[in-house]
């Protein structure tokens, strides 16, 4: 290694075999070691979270902990994380349902309709959106979105229901502004760019020949879209949605700031809910009892499991698609 730093010229005589063979071996070893950090990090994440949560997980049982509906850190010291799991799943899936059509529309518009400058601008916005910090969405949620939703939707709807459909109010919950629906709205705004970016890439990958063929047959733009482009890009769109789902599952601060942090089932539409990341963020520092502390890290472990499944599915899909497109 030592003779290597400044090689005066590459045309010099063939360097020694040691320099070549050993150098290559050492370099590969170093690169491998560095890369292994990623493997170690992923496995370590799961291992340490399990270790930290094991006290409570063992006490409540692997499934008992998951499906228990009481989270009582004071009186009974009983820990079931189902309210958080359910809150995470409901908010993430709803956010996905709200955001995918919109994201897809943006992807279609930029890839197929927009003039180049506009597409470039929108793409830049979308990329920027993915980089906006969670807390910035959160402060906007507290001071703009939540009051707006309360005044414009929750209160009128609540009052209307109280008068005309009393059975409905039970499912509505209090129109405080901080609640599950506000959380869903903010979450869906946050995950739009993930679906949008991947869908756009997938649409751009559609071979021009296929497109032109369809146009030549007299199809309108939408018909080309429907019969050629969307079926071809389906995989990419799906992967994008998965990635967005993964993001939504782990989104912490913005959700914690507007969701109301309630831990009682059943959840109502406007009423408070909570999610797994939010409970970790809010309670970890403050857990006095060891069992409570361990329960929170246990929440982290289950979140790890869920996020691992969703994200590895997304990356598996993406890698498969990439291989496919290279061959095509």
């Amino acid at each position: 290694m030592q003779q290597a730093p400044v090689q005066p010229s590459v045309i010099k005589r063939q360097p020694s075999a040691i320099y070549r063979v050993l150098g290559d071996r050492i370099f590969l070893a170093i690169v491998l070691l560095l890369a292994l950090s990623i493997v170690a990090l992923t496995l370590g994440l799961g291992y340490y979270l399990y270790l930290g949560g094991s006290q409570t997980i063992n006490k409540e049982g692997f499934f008992g902990f998951l499906t228990g509906t009481t989270w009582d850190p004071a009186l009974k010291l009983e820990f079931g994380i189902w309210p958080y799991v359910l809150g995470t799943i409901i908010t993430s899936l709803s956010a996905l349902v709200l955001s995918v059509p919109v994201a897809l529309a943006a992807a279609i518009f930029t890839a197929e309709y927009a003039p180049r400058w506009l597409a470039g601008f929108i793409n830049y916005l979308v990329d920027l959106m993915a980089a906006v910090p969670s807390v910035v969405y959160g402060i906007w949620g507290i001071f703009v979105l939540a009051p707006f939703l309360r005044e414009a939707f929750y209160l009128p709807f609540f009052l209307w229901a109280a008068e005309n459909a009393p059975w409905l109010s039970r499912y509505l919950g209090n129109p405080a502004g901080y609640g599950m629906f506000t959380g869903i709205v903010i979450l869906s705004s946050m995950v739009i760019p993930f679906t949008a970016a991947l869908s756009r890439d997938a649409i751009n990958l559609v071979p021009a020949a296929q497109r032109e063929g369809a146009y030549a047959l007299g199809a309108t733009r939408w018909e080309v879209m429907q019969t050629v482009i969307l079926p071809y890009a389906r995989g990419g769109i799906f992967a994008g949605a998965m990635l967005a789902l993964g993001r939504a599952l782990g989104e912490t601060m913005a959700v914690a700031m507007v969701i109301g942090n309630g831990n009682i089932l059943p959840y109502t539409l406007f009423g408070p809910a909570s999610t797994m990341p939010a409970v970790i963020a809010l309670e970890l520092k403050e857990a006095v009892e060891d069992l409570h502390y361990s329960a929170i890290i246990g929440v982290g472990f289950y979140l790890f499991l869920i996020a691992f499944i969703v994200n590895s599915a997304a990356s598996y899909l993406l890698n498969k698609l990439k291989v496919g497109s290279q061959r095509a």
Partner: protein, 276 residues
């Protein structure tokens, strides 16, 4: 074929739906940016950048410790993450036949999508719990965990953009593979690698969740990594949920500064990779 007129009408209708959808998609960001600019810009003043926080209820003060803290924590995090991220990127791009690669790629992408708060939790367990104190270092470590997979991914993709004939030329001249990578491929991809570093920094700098129980927050300015340290997103969060109007004002200002940092890095990244 059905009536042509009907097909055209439908085509227009769909276009309308697509446009409305696009506007809806761009709406949240536009609103967030707009409100942050309107509320935040007027609150930006000299004090904001030079003073520390005041006791609650007193007017004024600023976020100097948080700004410095964010720079230090992300800077140190970047230093720690860079070798690992670039190393993994090199392995993925330059040794395509390595048996580890499919697993590595899968895990790297998975890790990238893992909630940032879990990475903070890992840093908490590894450092804070073990050392017995909250510290800027543990925060930087959490940031590094966030950055590594991002850097690995961008490095891999930019290295793959470097034409193979550069490598072939180098190898034909008798250079060993490691010299080809270090002296030919990496320099050729330098701009892209830097972009990856910038993007990773921007992503990590805005994270508050992993810092809550690592960097912890500090109302006083410190450069000591073994002490609790403040960070802009942390302070923003604390101020935003508070009842104090003056703190709300400063929280908006912090939002503008964070957004500014991010727009700046993304523009910088565009500039570095311009003409590609």
């Amino acid at each position: 074929m059905r009536n042509l007129q009907a097909r055209y009408t439908r085509d227009r209708l769909i276009l309308l739906v697509v446009i409305v959808g696009t506007i809806l998609a761009a709406l949240p960001l536009t609103l967030v940016l707009g409100y942050a600019l309107v509320n935040g810009f007027s609150s930006l003043n000299w004090d904001f950048f030079t003073k520390g926080p005041k006791p609650p209820g007193e007017l004024g003060g600023g976020m100097a410790p948080a700004i410095v803290g964010t720079l230090v924590i992300t800077g140190v995090g970047l230093l720690m993450a860079t070798p690992f991220g670039i190393g993994a990127g090199i392995l993925l791009a330059e040794y395509p036949d390595n048996k580890l690669n499919p697993t590595l790629r899968l895990l790297s992408d998975t890790l990238n999508g893992m909630p940032a708060i879990l990475k903070g939790l890992l840093a908490y367990v590894l450092v804070v719990k073990a050392q017995g104190s909250f510290s800027g270092f543990s925060g930087a470590l959490a940031m590094a965990f966030i950055m590594i997979p991002i850097i690995a991914k961008t490095t891999e993709s930019v290295l793959k953009l470097v034409p193979w004939n550069i490598r072939e030329a180098g190898l034909a001249l008798g250079l060993p593979r490691w010299r080809v990578i270090l002296s030919l491929v990496l320099p050729a991809a330098r701009a892209g690698v830097v972009t990856g570093l910038l993007l990773a920094t921007a992503r990590a700098a805005g994270e508050a969740a992993p810092l809550i129980f690592t960097a912890f927050g500090n109302t006083l300015l410190t450069l000591n990594l073994s002490q609790p340290m403040d960070a802009l997103p942390l302070r923003l969060y604390a101020y935003a949920i508070s009842p104090y109007e003056d703190w709300h004002r400063q929280a908006w200002a912090a939002a503008v500064v964070l957004l500014g940092l991010i727009v700046l890095t993304s523009l910088l990244a565009r500039w570095v990779t311009r003409g590609r």
